[in-house]
Symmetry: C2
Subunit: 388 residues, 2 copies
Amino acid sequence: MPNQGCRKRLSVSNKTVVQTQYVTFSDDITLKSGARLGPVTVAYETYGQLNTEKSNAILILHAFTGDAHAAFYHEGAKDPGWWDAMIGPGKAFDTNKYFFICPNVLGSCKGTTGPMSVDPKTAKPYGLTFPVITIEDMVDVQKHLLDHLGIKKLLSCAGGSMGGMQAMTWALRYPEMLHSSIVIAACHRHTAQQIAFHEVGRQAVMADPDWKGGNYYGTTVPASGLSLARMIGHITYMSWMSMEQKFGRKLRDKDKLGYDLSKDFEVQSYLEYRGKSFVDRFDANSYLYLTKAMDYFDLAEGRKLGEVFQDVKADLLVISFTSDWLYPSSQSQEMVRALKANDVDVSYVEIKSDYGHDAFLVEFEDQTRVISNYLAKVQKERVLGRNL
Amino acid sequence: MPNQGCRKRLSVSNKTVVQTQYVTFSDDITLKSGARLGPVTVAYETYGQLNTEKSNAILILHAFTGDAHAAFYHEGAKDPGWWDAMIGPGKAFDTNKYFFICPNVLGSCKGTTGPMSVDPKTAKPYGLTFPVITIEDMVDVQKHLLDHLGIKKLLSCAGGSMGGMQAMTWALRYPEMLHSSIVIAACHRHTAQQIAFHEVGRQAVMADPDWKGGNYYGTTVPASGLSLARMIGHITYMSWMSMEQKFGRKLRDKDKLGYDLSKDFEVQSYLEYRGKSFVDRFDANSYLYLTKAMDYFDLAEGRKLGEVFQDVKADLLVISFTSDWLYPSSQSQEMVRALKANDVDVSYVEIKSDYGHDAFLVEFEDQTRVISNYLAKVQKERVLGRNL
């Protein structure tokens, strides 16, 4: 009765405590732009046990503002990692079966080298002297991490949103290094509208006088600009419907309209809250660099998607959500068609959800069913099958 | 051969010149909030001839940042009014047949009293001492204008977006005063997402240090905040598809990516251009007041839409556009269902378009066919029919 076992494990009151680990690569890495960057530190966490054949490793790839802490608890923490509902014993990403590595991406501010890191050449934070990075550069740094861990081939890599862009890039950039890739709520290139929403976010940050050309470290951070950028982003992460269900025209601590310019509606103060709390956990320059990396994301780069996908050797699982209007299903479907045309073994699931782009962080039940079955199939067909 | 006649008229090289007129109502008006405001000046234009029975008057209601100059040319101007393609001899709103009045709305900055107008009590611009206004208040001021012009009953009123909200409000607030109303790309209430987009626009304006609590008149205007607000708005006015068709990933004066934080893509500089040029033509405080008026827009206000529509006496034409995601067709359809349930004579047309919310300012051919036929029908059934 595996289900009962699973339930039991989920109900234990002892919290499993995990720690973020760090590794520093002292040699410079060459970025897609041609610029060189080094040393590069990578923050990462691991969950589960790597088997002796090192054939059960899965790379977990986080989204825009995520971090290495995907699951379980940090010492003394109230809340678990950002995808804890998906990673753990008996969960979609089953730590009883697989070994997971979740690295913080290059350019972020959560332990991996980024614009707020200290440049050893100047002993000051990089700020805008940090080179512009791409999704490919993030993946290259992850490759260094796998080399460091002695993992030659991944059972899978998986991520939503920007994590999905990395998962797709892995399949193209290191085709021999993975059996499968799980691409959730993502795309194969950023569209004009996606670039436009990022651009207004960046303009909000840079218009804040406290941004000071990116040299705000050790002084007041550009809180109002970064908060506004996050508010804009947050609207795009929710759907029309989820906003309507959650807020509609509900008033905020009021029984009638104020007839002034203050906040009347709950949705206004919710956005403000989300904006302000974001400032406490994220760096404004990382906001600029990571949005830019996504805007640069374009697998085909002027070629035909079909041509680009010729080199894909992994099996793919593509998941999209019906109400995601930021990375709409149509983009996933375009990708799936081009993969199928290249005889890539691709499964596509569109999950019905009202949660918009955020669905990949909310719709656990459907994702769990799809992903756990998929991983079992990949292991059976591509790992165990080959050993038979 | 009416079509040929029409073409001839459209091709004449002599531009018809029109002037904005002004009328000031010296008595205070009472606003929905209970506040009083006066004197109120209204800027308006008229086109065509009012017939002796005064039965051919149509009120043209502009959108958010529009003005009284809907058609023809101002003296020496290169460009015509904002809906010139729709208003004129032989056009959708045919100036050979009907008499049009287009007033600038209360709270705007285009001649009608608004926050940048001088408060006679202080001899200074109102700024934030201007009272918060509603769509209902705009309509009430328009009613004063019609009284002033001696028009007791409108053949129709018509507008897109915020103009459509006014057109809907006319049908409820002065049911005896109009035969029909044409509601384009609008809604019966602002949703959480619509409020949210307005909120981030307002926050962008108010975060600009040059806004100075609204007291910037005579000093530097909050250009960067207002520009950013417009950029955000502009994304919502276009569709995913129209942005993709117009810009896609086209680079701006570059043959490759810059790998820096500057603008690489055309869509970035286009948005910046739209933002900056908006600052030259619109007042930041009006931006706050008019977005607030729209956010307050809710015809039902806690009651059932069906109840509210019981008093409608006008015929209605509701038009929406397939790719309009800011005021989606579903909102128009909800309105149409409630109107039909109350036996209101309502026609609904969903026009196929890739232009998003902007479609009402772009899709002239389909709108012309629908509106010109509709107005002929209303005149025949409700005006001429009654005289027989």
